[in-house]
Every structure is written in structure tokens, then in C-alpha cells.
Symmetry: C2
Subunit: 324 residues, 2 copies
């Protein structure tokens, strides 16, 4: 299996995707295909991998440029070259920590949308107290119509069944209250559409239940989904800082911290985004994973392993079946 690895896009430089790939190769067998500056890539690998390919690409698409214009103009960018290669036979999937907009535009214009899907979306696995919860969309679509959200629900259900191995996953709509009449225009319309599907729809859910594991799939537009995950990230990093500060206050608290450290780590590590790593771009004709921009090599490794599971379960074929 050949996996295309975009070496640009990680905040901490091209070492992250390459080192993450080297880590992933210790757990799974695949052939990495690195896209980026050939010489730099060779230098970092420095003969630590036997079989790999490189697609030389000197240009990159940044977060602050218009993604559609960028993929049209920057033919030598790692994303454009990577996605073009992905359309060839024998290339199974692509992973990138780069701009969400760039990935989405490349997916839509180079890979193409699955027939019957109105919008592609990003599905993020949330850290939860128990069970598994998938939130989609978390940033691909800003202004959504109700039918886009229904597609997200269908694709999320297929992904949850196949990749996360959840039987008959429950689907909920992110809203400001649990009552059916609550919310904005789009959420009310979406509620009505979801009631009419064969999905295991459980109604509205409030944001405070995103991380309790109360439901398997939460549907939101990309604006709201993004606000939710970034709020959570902010609070988690803030409370970690407060916990550290409360440990480094005195000798007594330092001793307390030493005794508690392993146990705290065990309970809190799942809220660390490193273990989540990546999220699939659902709705396009190819297997594409978005790694977090601020990934470290461990997070990037997790994302590659997630992408391989996604490919192995043949999920895109199953989404096509559901949307026919």
C-alpha cells in the first residue's frame, strides 16, 4: 500500500511528517511517498527507510491564501502534486497537516466529490469520558444547508460503523437545547431531515455532552464544529497549565504532584490531541486524512495509522452504496 505524505503544513516543519512516518512504519507495513523538497526529504530520512518514493515539489499552499485560487495557480505545490499522484493507480491514500481549505479544495477539484454528496466534510474523533464520539463537520464548510448536514450524518454513520466498529451508531445534532424547536434556522431544518432518515437519530445534543460519550456521532456545520473543538482545546490546555502551576507552588504541593503524577497522566492523556492525530476528509473519491497543524511526530504517526484503517475498511465504497 502506497501512502502519500505531504511534508509541508506541520507548524514544526517537515521533520514532523517524516519522523511520524518512520514511527508509523514500525507498526504497519506500507510504502511512504513523500511530497516536498527532494533534497531536504532525503537528508532527513538519511537512509533510515528502505523503500519509499519522493515526489519533488518546491511550492506549498499556506493557511492565509485563498485555497481555490492557490490550487489553480500553484501547480508545483505539494498538495496539487500529491493529489494528482493520488488519482493514479496503486496510490491508496494521502495525509497532510496543511491548510484545511487547501486540502478541501484539492479534494474537490482533483479527487472529485462522491456522486450524490453535496459537500465534503472533516470528521474529528473526540476524546470522551467513555465510548466514542465523532464530530462532523469540524471546519470544511462554513455556511451549510440542511441537506449538507444530512449527508454528513450518513457519511459519519458509515465511518463509525466501519472504521470505529460501532454497531448502529447514534446520531445527534449539535444545538443550544435538546428540545426539537430549539436552535437556528438550519438546525431546525436539519432536525426535520434527520428524523426522516434510516439513521439512528437521537435528536439534539448540547455542547456540554460532546465529550461525555452520550452519542456516537454529532452533526454540526463546519463553523460551529470548529468553535467547539477549539474551545475544548483551549480549556484543556488552560487547565493543564493551572494543574502544573498548582503543583509547582511549594514543597508540599510538589510532593503531592509527584505522588499523583502517573495517575493524573493516565486519566488525562486521552484529552491530549497527540493520540487523536488526524481526521478523514469524507465525501471525496479518495482516502485523505488531515493531520493537526500543530502535530508532533506521535500525533502524525497516529494519523497515518488512522488513514490506513480507513483505507483497509473500504469505507468510500460503502459511502457510495449508502448515498445511491
Amino acid at each position: 500500500m502506497k501512502i502519500i505524505v505531504d511534508t509541508y503544513g506541520a507548524d514544526d516543519g517537515i521533520e514532523i511528517p517524516i519522523e511520524g512516518t518512520i514511527e508509523a512504519l514500525k507498526e504497519k507495513d506500507f510504502i511512504p511517498v513523500f511530497v516536498g523538497d527532494k533534497e531536504e526529504i532525503e537528508n532527513i530520512i538519511s537512509q533510515r527507510i528502505d523503500i519509499y518514493e519522493i515526489i519533488d515539489a518546491k511550492d506549498r499552499i499556506d493557511n492565509n491564501e485563498d485555497p481555490v485560487r492557490a490550487i489553480r495557480k500553484k501547480k508545483d505545490s505539494s498538495l496539487v502534486k500529491g493529489f494528482e499522484k493520488l488519482n493514479e493507480d496503486n496510490y491508496s491514500g494521502l495525509i497532510s497537516a496543511g491548510s484545511t481549505g487547501g486540502l478541501l479544495a484539492s479534494g474537490l477539484f482533483i479527487s472529485g466529490r462522491i456522486e450524490g454528496v453535496k459537500r465534503a466534510c472533516i470528521a474529528t474523533s473526540l476524546p470522551t469520558f467513555e465510548n466514542k464520539t465523532l464530530l462532523l463537520d469540524t471546519g470544511a464548510n462554513m455556511d451549510c444547508k440542511a441537506e449538507f448536514l444530512r449527508d454528513f450524518a450518513i457519511m459519519g454513520s458509515v465511518f463509525a460503523k466501519n472504521v470505529l466498529h460501532i454497531d448502529n451508531p447514534t446520531v445527534s445534532l449539535l444545538n443550544v437545547g435538546v428540545e426539537e424547536h430549539k436552535g437556528n434556522k438550519v438546525s431546525k431544518e436539519t432536525y426535520a431531515l434527520l428524523k426522516d432518515t434510516d439513521l439512528n437519530f437521537k435528536g439534539n445534543i448540547e455542547a456540554r455532552d460532546l465529550f461525555t460519550g452520550k452519542t456516537n456521532i454529532v452533526i454540526a456545520d463546519g463553523f460551529d464544529g470548529n468553535i467547539a473543538i477549539k474551545t475544548a482545546e483551549g480549556i484543556i490546555s488552560l487547565l493543564s497549565k493551572e494543574i502544573k502551576n498548582s503543583i509547582y507552588k511549594s514543597l508540599k504541593t510538589k510532593i503531592g504532584g509527584a505522588l499523583l503524577k502517573d495517575s493524573l497522566k493516565e486519566n488525562l492523556s486521552k484529552y491530549n490531541t497527540d493520540d487523536i492525530g488526524g481526521a478523514p476528509l469524507l465525501g471525496i473519491n479518495q482516502y485523505v486524512y488531515k493531520a493537526h497543524g500543530n502535530s508532533n511526530k506521535k500525533a502524525f504517526k497516529s494519523a497515518i495509522l488512522g488513514l490506513i484503517d480507513y483505507i483497509n475498511t473500504n469505507t468510500i465504497e460503502k459511502i457510495r452504496g449508502e448515498l445511491k
Copy 2:
């Protein structure tokens, strides 16, 4: 100063508003005017307050009913009777832990909107690592136009200056990225409007900075603001549970927890909503505070004290001045 206290609406019953009021009376001098079931109220007070009034109201407006229809039909509800009394001379403010929709509808139809304000909104003080941050709207308006959000920014700035004592408060727009072109249709239009005001506008802010204290005022529509605060609440309660679980794991961790307890409490208590308690309903002609539905008596007390500060600073008059 007479403060009208709605005794209905708190999840834990009418004791909460009454006991919260009794606590607040220990810190500030005011005359409470309780609205609700006269007999029940008298029973709970049981002569612990010397001077108070009661407005007998047997009916209540619930979270799950249409608020506009409810305030038209339920003339004997605590909210309708309370807001009507608030229009009389000598009644300075009203506080309720009841339905946001009911409060908003009562405010709009009974108190009336401030001239020039297109929508009223709820302004919530966030717990932050440092500084003070006010988020508005957090639930009053679901589908907002850009000019509504501009009004929120103006009202939030007046409130921050007067009640929170912040000089030249910074204003940011909640968005999915910091770049000007990011976001949905409404956020792009709002960005353009805010650039054109005299406010200290600092551009977009991502949700992960809501609690860092990076900016004083964050503007969002009521749907997104609500998602953000409820996500934060959810994560805070989840991590508190995980911390507790990691302490109660073994003798060693229990000792660690005992040594660390006070310090953790000192650092984390500000993220407890009890100390925030309430939020003003900005944009109407009367001083109204919304207390949290799941308030305990301490939270309700904090909310009453907040309402009194809000009244004493004559903030509504100043908002009228800014919006002329």
C-alpha cells in the same frame, strides 16, 4: 434599591433564589421583591429577612414552551408579573434563573428595546487565565445579521468599561481563523462593519483563545456563543471528574491528592461557574440579569451582586448615549 427576584426557574427549586438572596443581603443593602407562590416563599424565608415584598404569581414559564406565546398567555407567570412590576417606579432590576427565551421575550415585549438597538443579547463573563473576557451573545439570538453583532460589540464595550472597569476594552470576533477572509458569510460581513466603528477592534479570535484573556470582548451570534460556553462547561466538569478519579485510585494517590488539594482548588476555582453566577440581558430598557439554571445559592448570590453593580453604574443610560 428594590430588586425583583424570580423564585421560579432554578433547577434545584425555589429555595435557591431565596437562599441566594438572603446571602446577598449579608453583603449589600437592597430590598428583595420575590415573585412566586406567596405561601411557599414566606415558609422558606421564615422571618429571616426584615424588609421584603412578595408578588404572588402561581404560574411559571418553562424552558420547553414557545416563549413569545407563553408570555402572551401566562399573565399570572412570575416572569410576566415581575417584568410588569419592573416598569413601575422604584423597582431597579430583576433577576431570574428561568428560561433564556422567556426572559428575552419578556424583556423585549414588556421592558422594550433601547432605541437604536436591533437585538438584545446576553453577555457572559468568562473565567480566564488572566484579565477579563466578556462573550456576547451567549444564547438570546439564533440567526444574527452583521448589524446585530455590531450592536453587541458596542453594548459589550460600554458594559466592560463601566461595570468591569476596563479602559478602552479590546473587541474581537469569534471565528475559525484569525485571517480577515476566514469564516462564514455573517462573520465576514461583521468584520467589515466592526472595522468601521470607533471600537478598539482587534480582528478575529479563535475559540482556543476565549479563556486565555487575550481580548476583553468577544462577539458571536447566540448560537455559536452558546456552543462555546457549553463546550467549556462540559470539558471543565469532565476534567474535574478525571482529576477526582485519579486521586481516588490508591493510597498513594489519595495522599498526593490531600497534599495538592488546596492548591488545585485555589487555581481551578475560578473555572467554577458558581463565582460567575449571572449575565446581563443587554439592549432592553431595564436592568435584568439571567442567573444560571443550575445555580446553587452561592451562584445566585454572585448574580444578584453583579446585577447591583450593573444598576449602580447607570450602564443603560450610557448604552443609550453610545447608540444615539
